[in-house]
């Protein structure tokens, strides 16, 4: 059953993607509305619209790009580097 559901969704990937984009947009808008004037926010910047959406996207991007740069600057080596 699990495989059938996954295959069903994969066959309709275009629609799944669209639903995901709509959900993401909804979450971003809802998050911005909730954050405005909310006492749970510890800093002013957190109350900016879409702050945590932008934070999440930038965090992901920075982690990937920095890590890859770091890895390709000599840290990543052949698997038999230690002769094992």
């Amino acid at each position: 059953m699990i495989v059938s559901i996954i295959d069903y969704l994969r066959d309709r990937l275009k629609y799944v993607n669209r639903i995901c984009y709509v959900v993401m947009a909804g979450v971003a808008v809802w998050g911005s509305l909730v954050a405005y004037g909310n006492h749970h926010a510890h800093t002013q910047i957190e109350q900016l619209p879409f702050f945590w959406s932008i934070f999440g996207f930038l965090a992901c991007t920075i982690i990937i790009i920095f890590s890859k740069w770091f890895g390709h600057s000599g840290v990543m080596v052949k698997e038999d580097y230690y002769g094992e």
């Binding site: 993401m24 979450v27 982690i63 890590s67 890895g71």
Partner: protein, 596 residues
């Protein structure tokens, strides 16, 4: 209670000693499950009566084996529960010695958690290191031997730091060996030494490289045990003794980010998870460093949740390794059709570690982040949130995508072998997944066990939900947009273990090429300047002794002997002749004396 107090570790140690004799198929599996379940029940019994038990007088010391308080209760509960889950997962394993090593390892952890002094702590601390190493060696690859020895050497060094700290503290305080909160506001040498010993087991950089090295190389079941006990026992010990030690805040935050960066580069799924242990334990170390009631609660809660979801993740990836023999992304892919249940369970682990609402990480990790913000350590709070995006990126997205979806890199043999694992492994994953969901959905299960009940925390508020969902959704967006950059590469990453791995080789080279050359040179100089002249002098004295001293002595002896021979001739045996010769000799002597 004190008269009948039985340490839960005793059940595990007795069980471990008996397990090699329980190989009959009828009794093997019931016995294997009975021991950890009895241990868990005993932990529940022991935890029902807080206090100090099991005090033993040995030499001049009173050793405390049973301190039951709020901190030891929550850690002992989760450790014994994880022992049940881990044993269920390894139930098919017919190597009795692997179960033996695993149970003694857990016994060491429970012993360290319940102990009340540094002597007992050290005893169980070392028991953990020396039993868990077998979980690496039982993998029986050529590499396993070297990894095991590295693991042992690093932990032995850590144990020595700990011991040195205890001894200095014992001397400095006039004999205090109780295991409690240290004066971290006025750190001294012994506090730093104890700290190094503890953070080494918690895998805090720069003492962390043993963790990905060992956990990725351990057996399938072994890594499930190892991922739960060593680092979390260290976190318990730190929460007990180093709460509020400021230096741990930057160390913990660095740790959280360090693990995330290396996880991006990783090609081995179990090694990637090991990097994320470092990252997640970073949250706990930060919590200990903050040291407030909420932060310590968060540390305990996150350790509790982490043991289960990380165990679940290692069970999922371990199942892939067990069934296919592969753990590298470049040799896997597209397995959802072959291992669908394993995928679902691993995904639940991924959602839990990523802090998705309704799952365990959401209610534990956020407590530490909130504690940092409440303590006005905003930089730590934001960087920990940044690290949490990285956690979802790898464990929630990269691991499932490149094993169960993505490009199918499986060989025909791998694809043929791939299937969901045996029932006991699926059951263990099911139990862990259920607990991950329960912790995240029913707060009293975890929160009622936290040590500081006065520190309230309510994770399910609109702001926290919106914040978390935004971060996670847009991290997922970034993942799919940058997917090409995340394509696994068949490489390894150099880490700080390079220092002792290559340093060891440098030492051997130095030993062979430099020290040995110097040794040979000194030997030659000694031969020509020392041995040869000595031999010459010795030969001369030997000659002189033989021909000089012995010649004189021998000559005297020969003369005496010749004289004796002549004297003997004049002794005819007749008394009158003897008197004649004696009187003549006396007369000659008198005349010589008178006229001389």
């Amino acid at each position: 209670m004190s008269d009948l107090w039985m340490h839960p570790s005793v059940f595990l140690i007795i069980g471990a000693l008996l397990v090699p004799f329980m190989q009959n198929p009828v009794v093997r599996r019931p016995f294997l499950m009975a021991v950890p379940i009895l241990t868990f029940l005993q932990v529940m019994v022991v935890n029902s009566s807080p206090g100090t038990f099991g005090v033993v007088n040995w030499m001049d010391w009173y050793l405390t084996f049973g301190r039951v308080d709020q901190l030891s209760i929550i850690f002992s509960f989760i450790m014994s529960l994880m022992c049940c889950v881990g044993t269920l997962y390894g139930l098919h394993n017919k190597n009795p010695y692997e179960h033996m090593a695993a149970w003694i390892y857990v016994a060491g952890s429970l012993g360290a958690i319940y102990c009340g002094d540094y002597i007992v702590l050290f005893l169980f601390w070392e028991l953990m290191a020396f039993s868990s190493v077998f979980l690496i060696w039982f993998r029986k690859r050529e590499k396993s031997k070297a990894v095991g020895y590295r693991y042992l050497l690093v932990h032995t060094a850590g144990g020595l730091f700990l011991l040195a700290g205890f001894v200095l503290r014992y001397q400095a305080t006039g004999g205090d060996y109780s295991f409690g909160q240290l004066d971290v506001d006025h750190p001294t040498l012994y506090i730093y030494l104890i700290g190094i010993g503890l953070i080494l087991n918690a895998a805090v950089p720069p003492f962390h490289s043993w963790l990905p090295d060992a956990y990725a190389e351990a057996t399938v079941t072994g890594s499930v045990f190892m991922c739960a006990f060593t680092t979390k026992t260290a976190i318990y010990a730190m929460a007990r003794s180093l709460a509020g030690f400021d230096i741990l805040i930057p160390m913990g935050v660095c740790m959280a980010l360090y693990g995330v960066v290396y996880a991006v580069l990783e090609n081995d799924c179990r090694r990637l998870l090991a990097w994320h242990i470092i990252s997640q334990v970073g949250y706990m170390v930060t919590g200990v460093g903050i040291g407030t009631a909420l932060a310590i609660n968060g540390t305990c809660a996150h350790a509790f949740a982490h043991i289960l979801y990380k165990g679940l993740l290692f069970m999922g990836t371990g199942s892939v390794l067990y069934m296919t023999g592969k753990s590298k992304f470049t040799e896997l892919g597209g397995l959802y059709k072959k291992m669908p249940l394993t995928f679902i369970f691993t995904m639940i682990g991924g959602l839990s570690i990523s802090g998705w609402p309704l799952f365990s990480g959401f209610v534990s990790k956020s407590m530490i982040i909130a504690a940092a913000a409440n303590s006005h350590v905003m930089w730590a709070s934001f960087l920990l949130i940044l690290a949490s995006a990285g956690t979802f990126l790898h464990t929630g997205l990269k691991v499932p995508y490149f094993i169960w979806f993505g490009k199918n890199n499986c060989s025909d043999e791998t694809w043929e072998k791939a299937a969901d694992p045996p029932l006991n492994m699926l059951l263990a994953m099911g139990v862990a997944a259920f607990l991950c969901f329960t912790i995240g959905s029913y707060l009293p299960f975890l929160y009622d066990m936290l040590p500081y009940q006065s520190a309230e925390f309510h994770p399910y508020n609109a702001y926290h939900l919106a914040e978390t969902l935004q971060i996670l959704c847009f991290t997922a967006l970034g993942f799919f947009l940058l997917l090409s950059k995340l394509t696994p590469e068949a490489k390894i990453s150099i880490d700080l273990d390079w220092i002792y791995r290559m340093g060891g080789r440098l030492f051997l080279w130095f030993d062979r090429k430099v020290l040995q050359t110097i040794d040979n040179g000194v030997g030659m100089i000694w031969t020509y300047c020392g041995i040869y002249p000595l031999m010459t002098i010795s030969n001369f004295w030997s000659w002189f002794d033989w021909n000089g001293i012995d010649g004189v002595v021998d000559g005297v002896a020969r003369s005496v002997r010749g004289l004796g021979g002549q004297v003997r001739k004049i002794q005819s045996g007749q008394i009158q002749n003897n008197i004649y010769f004696a009187a003549t000799a006396m007369a000659i002597a008198i005349i010589a004396y008178v006229f001389a």
